[in-house]
Symmetry: C2
Subunit: 539 residues, 2 copies
């Protein structure tokens, strides 16, 4: 009863606003959204017939952002201010009532957990806009958005207790052996539903009309992720449709209209990354030329240059040198077999390397879905030592086809690598700087985070001892010298322990390339695989 009364008040307020004034906040944190809401009854199709944008400007700079129709005669323009201080705006529209509307607001300093949009930093790495380093430790939940609400909430709870700070997720629903659920809402308005001989629903879409409720739901979930400090690596197209809904083979003009619409809605969301596609090469209706157009459409529409990439099937490399791509997002099991191959990708692309979907911890028959948790963890360590990032995924199916596989539906984690990844993330975030291979193409185990910090990963080797040895070279930085003292910690990447080694070590050159301890001291190791060594200078 109380709820109904409040709703009435809102309706009255909204009615007052129609055609007269702009409904908006007056103060917005950096990298949060300022939203202009405009109401007007338009003849015909409001998605097609209204041109709407606004120029936002402060004393230094200006942005032009596109608006969009949000249903119920409401049009919106969203802006993500980055600089604090006063911002003005002026609306431009073919609707006279909207055109030349002006306003202002104040952008205030971000509060504690708001670090802003993630951008590329120092060629190979990522930073939040406030300067905090961001290391992607992602997982995959392709179709979690399209599951029932309860499962979506469970997914958020699972993510909250995990160490993941990125989720790959699809805009469009997914049809696959392991994901057959029919969504509740769809991105387009339904023209017609027929039931075919098999009892399957055959949809006819009105591609001229988006379904605002669908996008509002997507936005809510992206904001839910933001509240957990998680980036949404949003997959704009994917091939897991195969005629069921037809979103994988829409006409080019619909694809472009869709990208215009979704970028107008979402570009102001600080935690969105554009992933043009998952397995783009399986979307056989689109050529590379088509993709190039779609990529440029997103780039053109996004005034903030969100992180942007495209992802192919196994070992399919797009031309990631294209300036529109901020980073490499590749599916390839090969380079994560060894840190040096990840480093080679860095050398080739000179961009951050994110190895998304390199296979998953699980128990499926498919080989990509049956890695042991040790193997999943190992591959992620390899990637990190090579100076890249590897995405986790989980594909356990214990209860048959009705089970919720996190990788597809979200839900709860059933595996054990996810905990080790949180452990690894903690180590990486405590390092003084991002990792790179200290002696590129020569030393295949030793990563450095700058002067006096090394992380050496011994992988599957089971060794009794490790002869203390470090390369002279340390990336492009200062070379190691004699007489430097180091402590060593033994990291058990599987048991998640970090143990101080009781000795200290002092560097002495053995040749022009490597240093040992001056007394050739060794580190005794547990006779176990997946051991890493954290080596830090103490003088």
């Amino acid at each position: 009863m109380k709820f109904i009364q409040i709703k009435k008040v809102v309706v009255i307020v909204l009615l007052l606003l129609i055609n007269t004034s702009i409904f908006s906040q007056k103060k917005v944190e950096q990298w949060q959204r300022f939203e202009i809401s405009l109401t007007n009854k338009i003849n015909g199709n409001s998605f097609n017939n209204v041109k709407l944008s606004a120029k936002f400007f402060n004393k230094d700079t200006s942005f032009v952002v596109n608006g969009f129709y949000d249903g119920n005669n409401i049009f919106k323009i969203r802006f993500m201010p980055q600089e604090i201080g006063k911002w003005n705006y002026i609306v431009k529209s073919n609707i006279p009532e909207f055109n030349n509307k002006k306003g202002e607001f104040e952008c205030i300093k971000a509060t504690a957990n708001n670090h802003g949009i993630v951008k590329v930093s120092d060629t190979y790495y990522f930073k939040y806009a406030d300067g905090k380093q961001y290391y992607p430790f992602g997982t995959t939940a392709y179709a979690w958005l399209h599951m029932g609400n309860e499962l979506q909430e469970e997914t958020l709870q699972s993510l909250k207790k995990s160490g993941f700070n990125k989720v790959r997720m699809c805009v469009f629903p997914k049809d696959y052996n392991l994901v057959k659920e029919e969504p509740v809402i769809y991105p387009f308005e339904i023209k017609n539903i027929e039931i075919n001989a098999n009892g399957d629903k055959i949809f006819t879409w009105d591609f001229e009309k988006f379904n605002p409720a669908f996008f509002q739901h997507l936005e809510k979930r992206i904001d839910d992720l933001a509240a957990l400090g998680i980036e949404a690596d949003l997959i704009l197209f994917h091939p897991y449709d195969k005629g069921r809904w037809g979103f994988d083979s829409m006409p080019t003009e619909v694809n472009i209209k869709y990208l215009n619409y979704i970028t107008a809605r979402l570009a102001s969301f600080k935690n969105v990354w554009w992933s043009l596609a998952n397995e783009w090469d399986y979307l056989t209706a689109k050529t590379v030329k088509d993709w190039d157009v779609l990529i440029e459409t997103v780039a053109k529409n996004d005034p903030y240059n969100h992180l942007c990439s495209i992802h192919g099937a196994t070992a399919t490399y797009y031309n990631y040198l294209k300036p529109a791509f901020s980073h490499v997002s590749v599916q390839d099991e090969a380079p994560v077999q060894n840190p040096y191959s990840v480093a080679t990708l860095r050398n080739i692309y000179k961009k951050p390397i994110v190895l998304d979907e390199v296979g998953y911890e699980g128990n499926l028959d498919s080989r990509w879905g049956r890695y042991s948790p040790e193997q999943m963890t190992h591959l992620i360590w390899n990637g990190v030592i090579g100076g890249g990032y590897v995405t986790h995924g989980e594909t356990y199916m214990f209860k048959g086809a009705t089970d919720t596989i996190f990788w597809a539906d979200g839900g709860s984690f059933k595996g054990s690598s996810w905990k080790r990844i949180a452990f690894l993330r903690n180590i990486i975030e405590k390092a003084p700087a991002p990792l790179y291979m200290a002696d590129i193409s020569r030393d295949y185990k030793t990563a450095s985070a700058g002067k006096g910090y090394y992380l050496i990963y011994l992988g599957k080797d089971i060794k009794e001892s490790w002869l203390f040895n470090l390369p002279k070279k340390n990336g492009d930085g200062e070379k190691l010298k004699e007489g430097c003292k180091f402590k060593v910690e033994i990291i058990d990447t599987w048991d998640m322990t970090i143990t101080d080694y009781p000795l200290t070590f002092e560097t002495k050159a053995v040749d022009n390339y490597r240093f040992y301890d001056k007394n050739i001291k060794e580190v005794r190791l547990p006779l176990k695989p997946y051991i890493a060594l954290r080596i830090t200078q103490i003088d």
Copy 2:
């Protein structure tokens, strides 16, 4: 006395030809050179003041090729005909006596050992123009051209008895710890030589005047290589100069003039590859933009599109996606550690992958020059199994600084990997087709040359037995089936033996990805490293 008489006759003939007629052959084999020689005394600098080209045409096609000044009032235009039959030409020049000269010749079918120019074939491979597959097994003799004549002849003899069919060699002389010899001739005319306080010669060049004798010598050596079936991977610029001659830091217009001149002289040589540089990134006087201009200059001047690439220092990758590059020529030790990394480079670039200068068999202090022969051989096998090509080099120094290191000076091979490479070449050339990894990014040992042919390399593993097993996938080709019978040969890549294994094997699927023998039979192996298996279908 007899010689002098003949010389006189030649002079008389040449005098007769001046200003009047064209001296040329009437019949030329495909991919050999047709040469027009024109004589005229020109006022001023004949290199700069004469514009000279010719259009060659047959019934189907035409080529415009540039001429060049060859000294002694002689101008030349060279053409490499590719199609048999009658060719006509017409000369174009700002010298009235040359302009509009016409002529014709007949291009006749190539004879046995002339297979023509090497081109890229089927994305990742090379073929001679006559359709014969070409697999590069190269070595390096950077400055052999600049050594004494006796050493040059020794180099040719060494190459003749080796299995090498490509040599990386520099146009300009090399100044390096291990190569200090002063050349006899230089590419430019000397304006002045001073001797400085250290007794070093300080040259001042007339960059307006090439030294034709230098280029004639270069051409002779390229033809000598052609006679041995060896491609000249000609390095047009390199950084090993450091002010001694200054060829690494000539002004841009001289660089371009030099490229115009050398391409006019050499584009008609069927066995020339253009390597824009060795370690381009160490040529600090040139930016990437400068290189782009130089690359385009070569591409524009070469009507035959010879193979063309550029080579950087360790792990430096140019943008090899550029259309002007036919193939990747990269210096990187990392990808040759494992076949899958070579395959990854194929996947990224979609061009042939040539790993030039990944370190050398030798005994130097420098780590790049002290691989064991086993390691050199191993890296070359890794490259070949990954579907690429790895260049050999040899850096033994037994007699101190006066020793001739093949990699620098040429001379004689002192190592032992070169014989193993000839053995490998023989295996590869007997395969039905070029190799690729059968199950990309999943199986890291098994190469295939198409249906019914596999080459599996076990690398450093010492194993008692190998369980017969093959992937279902075979690149983009037909998948392996059950019930196929195979024989196995054990290849000892070091001892250079190939031994028939007495059993035959019949495929039976174990899952959706792999086949074993139907009775799970194994192959007993010698307990040695560097074993490969050749597996061929017998039914």
